[in-house]
């Protein structure tokens, strides 16, 4: 099993969730994060004092999935989250040793 974490633009969240549902992903966890990268921030002005805001609002989506769905899920995210402009984000793939469903105690792929 794998755990993928995708950093995406906030307004793409609904699209990505739908795209993932279509390839059979049933659950995911979302976190509001701030990203720093190549995408340029903007300037804010408070009584003439200018602040450059480098940390931009992003959304992190975490999905645990079976290896077999991985490719489909990755391309679902890539397609639905892409705008083509700098700042679209990244997908990180990590190994996942075990999953447990708290409600039932099930483990492994049946817990997803």
């Amino acid at each position: 099993m794998k755990l993928i974490s995708a950093i995406i633009r906030p307004f793409k969240l609904d699209d990505v969730r739908e795209a993932l549902s279509e390839v059979g992903v049933q659950g995911l966890t979302v976190t509001e994060v701030k990203g720093f990268g190549r995408q340029k921030g903007h300037t804010e002005l408070y009584r003439g004092a200018e602040y450059v805001v480098d940390f931009l609002p992003k959304i992190k989506i975490e999905v645990a999935l079976e290896d077999t769905v991985l490719e489909k899920a990755l391309s679902a995210i890539e397609t639905s989250a892409r705008t083509g402009k700098i700042g679209d984000g990244k997908i990180f793939i990590q190994p996942l040793e075990q999953v447990l469903r708290i409600r039932t105690g099930e483990s492994g792929e049946s817990a997803l």
Partner: protein, 469 residues
């Protein structure tokens, strides 16, 4: 003119000699007919006493006017609303979340403490006649003795006049806390406010409104440009310099944590300021109507000029700019609102918006002080614009009410400048002393650790927002 400079020299001398002989210089010929006169005097923006005395003498004791009283009760309430929640929110929204409650608390408790001090001795020292009458009143109304529900002050009960003035004494020290917000001890705020009320607010009040020497000079300050705004602005500037900069000032971003709160605060200040300005007429009459219109127009004009200047110079018109412009316009019209006409008010507002924006940016960065919430830039500088502008824009050619017989625009403007300078010098010097005293007794500044963690947690043991599940 020469006489005026003499006064100025006199007051500086008086200050150096710690007020000992201030008295002998100016008190001589004035006779001060107590509270009824006081009310008139205040309403007339400080016209010289000598002119008024005979009139006041001739008049029978004026009867209570229920309309004037109704308005003055409301005006009093409006000025309270300016401080709480108005000023508290205006300031609170501008600090970082970790210091939100500390600012709310400083304003709230300062207001409470000043109320009590005003009743116990402030009113007496400001508004009665005393041995040092050029500068201070006397002790006859200590603990409000001599006042009951039948005592009058013009056409309104004296209790109403006293409480109305109490609200001014509440908000003025509260204005100052914006200058050293986020890095001051709570005990220092309370102690300083109490001392400052006693040694700066009360004497300037008495000098300008209470029959002291500035009112005799003919300085016009309808609702408190010098007494309130320049006074607080100068103390603020001194304070932020003596307390020192916030940790991380200049290197870390310190954006306002909640601009909607600041906007609510600015709006309530605007709304409440009608109590402040129109209330200073002490009656519901034609002049009150003029003050009402002037206050709205100057404020609106300053919003427009501040926002437009930002828009053209920085490319973006900001909400904080609009809110700050409103306060700048309100400050500037405060001394002028009983003397200028509506078009003069618009002109004054346009100027105030531009000048105060510059004071909060150019001037501040030129000298590098950390006036956290721009108390000096808005209240100090805006007050000066208003006080001096009064002298010019009250001319009939600008639609103003015109000058007293024998007074020229130049003469009045010079008088205004003298009043401004006296206030700056008096408060500048005394405030330094008071901050040093406070620093000696309780200390001004919290520890670095406390400042970093935020004053809410460390001083007040509270957290403003708890939205965890």
């Amino acid at each position: 003119m020469f006489k005026r400079i003499l006064y100025l020299v006199g007051i500086v001398a008086a200050l150096s000699g710690l007020m000992a002989q201030a008295n002998s210089d100016v008190q001589s010929d004035a006779f001060h007919d107590g509270l009824i006169l006081l009310a008139d005097n205040h309403a007339d923006g400080g016209a010289t006493l000598s002119e008024e005395v005979p009139v006041a003498m001739a008049e029978a004791e004026p009867a209570l006017d229920s309309g004037d009283t109704a308005w003055m009760i409301m005006a009093t309430i409006l000025v309270i609303m300016m401080s709480i929640p108005g000023l508290a929110l205006f300031y609170g929204g501008l600090v970082r979340a970790k210091n939100m409650l500390s600012v709310l608390m400083q304003v709230f408790v300062t207001v409470s403490l000043m109320s009590i001090l005003w009743a116990i001795y402030g009113y007496s020292l400001a508004a009665t006649e005393g041995p040092l009458n050029a500068i201070y009143g006397g002790f006859s109304a200590l603990f409000l003795s001599g006042i009951d529900d039948t005592t009058m002050s013009g056409t309104i009960p004296e209790y109403v006049f006293m409480t109305f003035q109490m609200t001014f004494a509440c908000i003025t020290p509260a204005l100052i806390v914006g200058a050293f917000a986020e890095r001051i001890k709570f005990s220092a705020v309370l102690l300083f406010s109490a001392l400052w009320l006693t040694f700066c607010y009360v004497p300037i009040w008495h000098m300008v409104w209470g029959g002291g020497f500035l009112s005799q000079l003919g300085a016009i300050d309808f609702a408190g440009g010098t007494v309130v705004h320049i006074n607080a602005g100068v103390a603020a500037l001194v304070g932020c310099i003596l307390v020192g900069k916030r940790m991380g000032y200049g290197s870390e971003a310190m954006p306002p944590h909640n601009l909607p709160f600041t906007m609510i605060g600015a709006s309530l200040l605007w709304v409440g300021w009608f109590g402040f300005n129109v209330g200073s007429e002490l009656a519901a009459d034609g002049t009150a109507g003029m003050v009402l219109a002037n206050t709205q127009l100057a404020t609106s004009a300053a919003v427009i000029s501040w926002v437009m200047l930002e828009w053209f110079s920085k490319g973006k018109p900001t909400m904080l700019g609009a809110a700050s412009g409103a306060i700048a316009g309100l400050v500037a019209i405060t001394p002028a609102c009983g003397s200028v006409g509506p078009m003069g008010a618009i002109i004054l507002g346009l100027i105030a918006g531009v000048v105060c924006l510059w004071a909060c940016t150019g001037l501040k960065s030129m000298f590098g002080y950390d006036d956290s919430l721009d108390v000096f830039g808005v209240h100090g500088v805006g007050g000066i614009v208003g006080a001096v502008g009064t002298g010019i824009l009250m001319a009939p050619s600008f639609g103003g009410v015109g000058y007293d017989d024998g007074i020229t625009m130049g003469g009045q403007t010079t008088t205004q400048i003298i009043a401004v300078l006296v206030t700056i010098i008096w408060t500048g010097i005394i405030s330094v002393i008071l901050y040093k005293i406070v620093d000696g007794i309780v200390g001004l500044r919290p520890s670095e650790e406390e400042e970093r963690e935020g004053l809410d947690k460390t001083t007040h043991g509270e957290n403003p927002y708890n939205t965890q599940p």
